[in-house]
């Protein structure tokens, strides 16, 4: 739940004030043009950035004061995949599994979940961008988080890989930023349209259904 959430970069108000409520198990697509504030919102939800003002509660925890507890319960994929190019796909997941206090079995399972078992011993630098994105998604679900915060997870994914998103979302609360209105419709329950950092309403409940309306943010 976000209440009067604001993010500033110097004098620029990048987001807000924004109010937002999300129920457990709900999947929210965050839509909007470039610079609309999607990434800014997601970074705050993932506790990567602190809000300049307002209250943010995620999974019943205060996102600022209880961020360590919250982090153990959420999975995040940002703009960059955040993987280690010289390590293999499996080594990357094993490393993050260790940081989560998990073992090799969970890494192997996550790798299988994102369909990369056959590439387990291949270095990340030798994987395609789409395969790296799938691996990053595998890292995000490694510790079975309740909440997934994903910034354009469909970037570089082929049609088959996009089906993977639906599988990963099952039983989880999801907040996903995307430019793909069709994909958002397929995998999310509702949408939030951002325009210059402000809530411009639910694009699926009004005339804004047309993709051009959604993407014409700034």
């Amino acid at each position: 739940m976000a209440d009067g959430l604001i993010q500033r970069f110097g004098a620029l108000v990048a987001l807000g004030p924004l109010d937002l409520e999300l129920s457990k198990g709900e999947r929210l697509a965050v839509l909007g043009g470039n610079g609309a504030g999607k990434t800014t919102l997601l970074r705050m939800l993932a506790t990567v950035a602190r809000p300049a003002a307002g209250r943010l509660e995620v999974l019943g925890l205060d996102a600022q004061r209880e961020r360590e507890l919250l982090r153990a319960r959420l999975g995040h994929v940002g703009h960059q995949v955040g993987l280690y190019p010289a390590l293999t796909a499996l080594e990357n997941l094993e490393f993050f599994a260790t940081l989560h206090g998990l073992g090799r079995a969970e890494s192997v399972a996550a790798l299988a979940l994102v369909g990369l078992s056959s590439l387990a011993r291949r270095r990340v630098e030798q994987l395609s961008r789409g395969q790296q994105q799938r691996l990053a998604l595998g890292r995000a679900v490694l510790h079975r988080p309740e909440l997934l915060v994903l910034d354009e997870p469909d970037a570089s994914l082929d049609c088959e890989s996009r089906e993977l998103l639906g599988q990963l979302f099952e039983g989880r609360t999801v907040v996903m930023a995307t430019h793909d209105a069709q994909l958002a419709r397929q995998v999310c329950d509702r949408a939030l349209l951002l325009r210059t950092g402000r809530d411009a309403g639910d694009p699926w409940s009004s005339h804004m259904l047309h993709p051009a309306g959604m993407l014409g943010g700034t």
């Binding site: 153990a72 955040g82 260790t98």
Partner: protein, 220 residues
């Protein structure tokens, strides 16, 4: 957790071989340049060796530590690590450990090269001094590297921040290496003035300070 971070860094470096060969090459080239620049001979070589040793170490350290957090920040993997329960202090300790190991590998080239090029006498006391200084320099170097990684001018900021704070290591370490290379016994010095004890004290002090500061530098 810290060991996992260090192991990951060292494994990546051993596979990528980006930093170690360049550092080793830098060390040898710096010694060759010093050899010609100071017109060293059998008499002046050992006398100037401590100064050359610390100059090379300081600049090699800047290169080694400068990359510790910059690449993680650029690739987004630092964020991914911070979102795990590992904690900033563990992540910082792991990065400092890996950076210290890289500098030790660099010293493994530097000290024998000094013996060959400059005729410097390398003893256990010299090695102990250099290793103790490496620990503290890596701790502080990584702390400032983490700080500098948050800025655009990171390559400029790291030397500006780290060099003044490394001065105590250079002063105390230089004194110890000078004494060791001229055949003086470090144990003969009074306890309060023993360079190795002072360096160990610095290491502990800066390790505590850096561990406490890691959270604010990495995560806020």
């Amino acid at each position: 957790m810290a060991l996992a971070v260090a192991r990951k860094d060292l494994r990546g470096e051993l596979r990528g071989r980006e930093l170690l060969p360049a550092l080793a090459q830098f060390v040898v080239l710096a010694l060759i340049i010093a050899n010609f620049a100071f017109d060293l001979d059998l008499v002046s070589g050992p006398r100037l060796s401590p100064g050359i040793l610390w100059l090379v170490l300081v600049f090699a350290g800047l290169v080694a530590f400068g990359r510790a957090f910059a690449t993680e920040k650029e690739s987004g993997s630092l964020e991914a690590m911070l979102l795990t329960p590992a904690g900033p202090a563990s992540i910082f300790a792991g990065k400092a450990l890996a950076s210290a190991a890289l500098l030790v590998a660099c010293e493994a080239v530097l000290l024998p090269s000094m013996a060959v090029f400059l005729g410097s006498p390398i003893s256990v006391a010299v090695v102990a001094t250099v290793l103790l200084a490496t620990g503290g320099m890596a701790t502080l170097g990584c702390l400032f590297a983490a700080l500098a990684a948050q800025t655009r001018a990171r390559e400029l900021l790291l030397p500006v921040l780290a060099l003044p704070i490394w001065v105590p290591f250079v002063v105390v370490g230089g004194r110890a290496v000078q004494a060791a290379m001229t055949g003086q016994s470090l144990a003969a010095l009074p306890l309060s003035g023993q360079p190795l004890v002072i360096l160990a004290d610095f290491d502990i002090l800066f390790l505590v300070v850096a561990s406490l500061a890691a959270r604010f530098v990495l995560d806020d």
